[in-house]
Symmetry: C2
Subunit: 225 residues, 2 copies
DNA sequence: CTACAGTTTAACAATTCGGTTAAACAGGAG
DNA sequence: CTCCTGTTTAACCGAATTGTTAAACTGTAG
């Protein structure tokens, strides 16, 4: 019987490794798509196998159990997400730029990773501890993506650029305004028979809208400067 | 065999009706709780029966299939939701009041109907057409809850109270800012080890924050009036 | 050629779950 | 008392799913 291939990628013969990671990647992609659409419970291993172009036996050969596969996919996405936010955000730049960058990056990321966003929401609704654990660990090691943004908010407040508001509230507002629309977009489309509308354009407009409303809602107003 | 009890409540002998609606209510409550936590696929009829204090046979006696029960619960919640929004919102009152009312009502409603909110999000993620159909029908008959708010936005813009922004974007921003926090609250709690924080107080603060940021973000600014 | 990891096929076990059924029971209505 | 409806109990079916296993096949590495 072959040894557990998931953890041990020490065997780096070029061929094996490539073949290995190739299939694993196909599985990841398929699993993500299925899990994100139907959630852990709604997903079927058979469907994942089909989508990956392999058979169920091989699926279990790579990931012994459904749960294991689910968690692997989740962890992978999460890591990817955390990494994407690590770069940007300098607390000393003008708040307008920090906010704009954060909004742009957030909207773009969610738009380009809808599967991930849906999966996260599924996990969140299911009330499992999976996300909690990952979040806690990630925050402890790299610091949270929002942390940089929070610093920027605090600094901007100290500089008198924006009003003294609870940063937690601000972050929640920004993230909500950016994310919820995209997550609910499929349903919104169903409702809104405005079929002709350009979705991409609406997203770009959304960035502007969120930035403008929130920025001007937070900046120190004339009389108080 | 008893006739289908779900649709036909014509038999209004006091006793029977009471007994009937009593059990049905227990089932509704139990089903809502289970469905909202685990989604349609994750929910188990046995668990619903247990929570309702009855047995599976009786559950199927009232609702023939799981799907039927699910849709009944969904429709019931939806109707209730639409009704709750029908009253308020006068387009001619100051926009500050319209916005404040909408935010307050929305936050309160979602807070007091978390199960419903979670269920809606589940349904949304699952990409079913259920919500789309209900929404479309409701919009056609009573007009949407947001419609009143949208009118208020349009009128306020005409009066020059607020800047000319796309009302769709504004509504999306307001609803997002109100709802997402509550839906993700369980997870946020897991992450944030600030166990001491008063959740109710945070919610009240959230209303203020959302209102303030959005209102001041939208009002016509000094130079342009 | 041999070994071996990856892969397929096909069948299997075990469980779970949704749904049905029949029989019996309970208690108010008439 | 008798009828009827709601309710329970218990057993059952059938379908779907997860997970396992054994055997055979494939192509590269050595």
């Amino acid at each position: 019987m072959a040894e557990e291939p998931v953890e041990s990628t020490q065997v780096d013969t070029k061929f094996v490794d490539t073949q290995h990671t190739d299939t694993q990647q196909k599985i990841f992609d398929a699993a993500l798509k299925v899990f994100s659409c139907k959630g852990h419970d709604g997903a079927r291993m058979q469907e994942i196998a089909d989508l990956a172009g392999i058979n169920r036996a091989l699926l279990h050969y790579y990931f012994r159990t459904k749960r294991q596969l689910y968690e692997a996919v989740f962890a992978h996405l999460f890591e990817q997400y955390m990494r994407s936010f690590r770069a940007v955000m300098d607390p000393e730049q003008p708040f307008a730029k920090s906010l704009r960058d954060f909004v742009d990056h957030y909207v773009d990321y969610v738009r380009d990773h809808m599967d991930m966003a849906r999966l996260v929401m599924h996990e969140n609704l299911s009330g499992g501890t999976l996300m909690g654990e990952h979040l806690a660990r990630a925050f402890a090691t790299h610091g949270s993506p929002q942390q940089r943004f929070e610093e920027a908010i605090v600094r901007a407040t100290e500089r008198g650029e924006i009003q003294p508001l609870d940063p937690k509230q601000t972050i929640m507002t920004v993230i909500s305004a950016c994310a919820l629309f995209l997550i609910t977009a499929p349903t919104v489309k169903l409702t809104n028979p405005a079929a002709g509308m350009d979705f991409d354009a609406f997203i770009e407009a959304r960035k502007d809208h969120v930035f403008n409303v929130i920025y001007h809602g937070m900046e120190t107003r004339g009389g108080e400067a």
